[in-house]
Amino acid sequence: MNNSKSIRIFVLGVLFLLMVASGCKKKETPPPPPPPPKAPTATLSANPASIQRGQSATLTWSTDAATDVALDGNKVDASGSQTVSPTETTTYHLTAKGAGGTQEATAQVSVAAPPPPPAATPTPAPQVTDDQLFAQMVQDVYFDFDKAELRPDGQQALAQAAQIIKQKGWKVQIEGNADERGSTEFNLSLGEHRADSAKQVLIQNGVSADSLKTISYGKEKPQCTESNEACWQKNRRDHFTLLH
């Protein structure tokens, strides 16, 4: 018996049959009707989905089987992203149109008002200290060159100052000064006269002499050092300080 040769013929025969069979399968039948077009898909998302007024969010979308994609009426690519800054909570609509129909997708961005600023701690009503009140009410008075008499405006100012000095029971130091001209020692005497003038006016307006102290600085404590009349006038003064 010659088995290998017979097997070979058998396999070929099977193969031939298979080919025929498959060919049989591929019979020329009438083609099936084309499948219907695919329906478009659309997805839309917002990130973040919640913002505070003034912040921004990013809309991201993708579509499939769509030829015409619009985001709230504006044509966009089939897929993409866009930054939005709505001032109020807003719902965004993506519309994807294709041969297979139309698909919509939405995404919402919630907008919250910014948190209120932290409640301000109430500022205390400003308190005027005695020193500040004194500086406001008892101001420098000025003198003419070589003179120790108060001018009318100085007398008036001191008459008014006398009222609050009495009312508050203040103790006051009156400091007499002179400009740089003139001799060191005589200017100390001139400053004394200037301080004394103010003292007399205050006493005439009811301030008790015990509450007033005078001192002269002559030309030793100038407010400015330029050699001109503007500076000299500034230095020809009585200055007042509150004694504690």
Binding site: F145, D146, G182, S183, T184, E185, F186, L188, S189, L190, E192, H193, D196, K199, K213, T214, I215, S216, Y217, E220
Partner: protein, 451 residues
């Protein structure tokens, strides 16, 4: 300190000075210049002052000899009583010892000297040794007037001090018996440390030293007649007080506080009394006199605007001071008990009286024609008290103030802003030999020591 004592020739010399001032030396020239005879009418001696020789090879000899020679020359020139023979006339051979002296070479022309000083200086074992002579080279035999020897630690300060001492010896011998001032001191106010404090310096501006360190405002220094203490006025935390500084201890010492503000202390020349101005009584300054310890204060004046008292140092029987009782400051004199008040100036702005040591002249600072818009300076003037005649000492305008007499009555220290800032200057009483003594910071209110 070696000092010649004042001698009885004083009386003769005083009347000579009076005669000079009153008699015919007051010119009527527009600028009221006066030539005050400083050597009491005697001719000024022609003195030659060649350098002292450095005698040995010690490296310090040269530099110390230089300091000595410069100081000796300056002291003799500053004295104002010599006709200094210029060094260009000196012969090339200079003696270092009497044996080397050839007197005729010096008394003949060109030097034509009347007196000659010479000597030598050497350093050994850390000591400087100086020998000095003064010879009369004009008279036959060229007699020796002076021969002195000094030995101190070898420092530039000591070389200066020895020169001062030797110069004063020469001046005492040749200057009518009035002691030289080469060792005197000037006290003053300086702000160069950041505050106004009291400082001292030699009469020629050397050795400037800070004395007080109060960190406040210190004014009006006045040294005591014996030089041991210095009174001044200072701003304390609530008032101005008279304070006392001890030279020996190098600090302020206790002194009684007064009420009110207290300014401008002044010593009587016997050291027993201090006059000052105080507002303790009326709130305005008046003149008081207290003991040197500050006790027993009595009120003298009633002007209420009175400052800057000074005693007549010759008698201590009178006080001159500044009063604003009529408005602008003027100078007054009263007896030391407050009686017999006389007004000495009658116009302008007059301050800072200073009595000459012989009691005959008042120096003061004056703006003679004073008024708004009148620019121009304040100058130092001299008044002959007996005749009330006044002559002007400084002429350059600017502000000149606080004249203070030297102990020999021939020099005046004062403050002036002529260099741009307030500085201390000195000048001879005839207006010559003007010298700037301070340069750093602002310096004011000079007070020349009593000796």
């Amino acid at each position: 300190m070696l000092k010649a004592k004042r001698i009885g020739a004083r009386i003769l010399s005083l009347s000579c000075l009076l005669a000079m001032v009153l008699g015919g030396f007051l010119t009527a020239a527009a600028q009221d210049r006066i030539k005050i005879e400083l050597n009491m009418g005697q001719e000024r001696p022609r003195i030659a002052v060649p350098d002292f020789k450095a005698t040995n090879a010690d490296p310090q000899s040269g530099p110390l000899a230089t300091v000595f020679n410069q100081t000796l020359w300056s002291d003799l020139e500053n004295a104002g009583i010599f006709d200094m023979v210029a060094k260009s006339f000196y012969p090339s051979q200079v003696p270092g010892q009497p044996t080397e002296l050839a007197a005729k070479v010096w008394s003949d022309p060109p030097p034509n000297a009347g007196v000659l000083t010479f000597g030598n200086l050497g350093v050994s074992s850390g000591k400087v040794d100086v020998q000095g002579w003064l010879y009369d080279v004009k008279n036959p035999g060229a007699p020796q007037i002076l021969g002195k020897q000094y030995k101190e630690d070898a420092t530039p300060d000591n070389a200066r001090t020895i020169a001062h001492r030797f110069a004063d010896e020469i001046i005492a011998r040749l200057g009518s018996g009035i002691a030289g001032i080469a060792e005197s001191q000037i006290y003053f106010v300086s702000n160069r440390s950041g505050n106004k404090e009291i400082w001292s310096m030699d009469y020629d501006g050397a050795n400037q030293k800070q004395l007080t360190k109060l960190g406040s405002i210190a004014l009006s220094p006045r040294v005591s007649p014996d030089g041991s203490r210095l009174a001044f006025s200072a701003l304390t935390n609530d008032s101005w007080q008279i304070k006392m500084y001890s030279m020996d201890l190098g600090r302020t010492i206790a002194f009684p506080r007064s009420g009110g503000d207290n300014f401008s202390p002044a010593w009587s020349s016997d050291g027993t009394k201090i006059a000052f101005s105080s507002s303790m009584h009326s709130g305005l300054s008046e003149i008081f006199v207290a003991d040197a310890s500050g006790g027993g204060a009595r009120r003298l004046s009633t002007g209420k605007g009175d400052v800057s008292p000074v005693f007549n140092p010759k008698t201590n029987g009178q006080i001159a001071w500044v009063s604003g009782r009529t408005g602008l400051p003027l100078i007054y004199v009263m007896d030391a008990d407050g009686s017999n008040v006389q007004k000495m100036t009658d116009q302008g702005y007059a301050v800072s009286p200073a009595w000459s040591p012989n009691g005959l002249l008042l120096a003061f600072a004056w703006v003679r024609n004073y008024g708004p818009g009148v620019l121009g300076g304040q100058d130092i003037y001299l008044m002959d008290i007996a005749s009330r005649q006044i002559v002007q000492l400084t002429h350059d305008g600017g502000r000149n103030d606080f004249p203070s007499w030297s102990p020999d009555g021939r020099h005046i220290a004062f403050q002036s802003n002529r260099s741009g800032t307030e500085q201390i200057w000195s000048v001879l009483a005839d207006g010559s030999h003007l010298q700037q003594l301070t340069r750093q910071g602002r310096n004011s209110q000079p007070n020349w020591s009593f000796k």
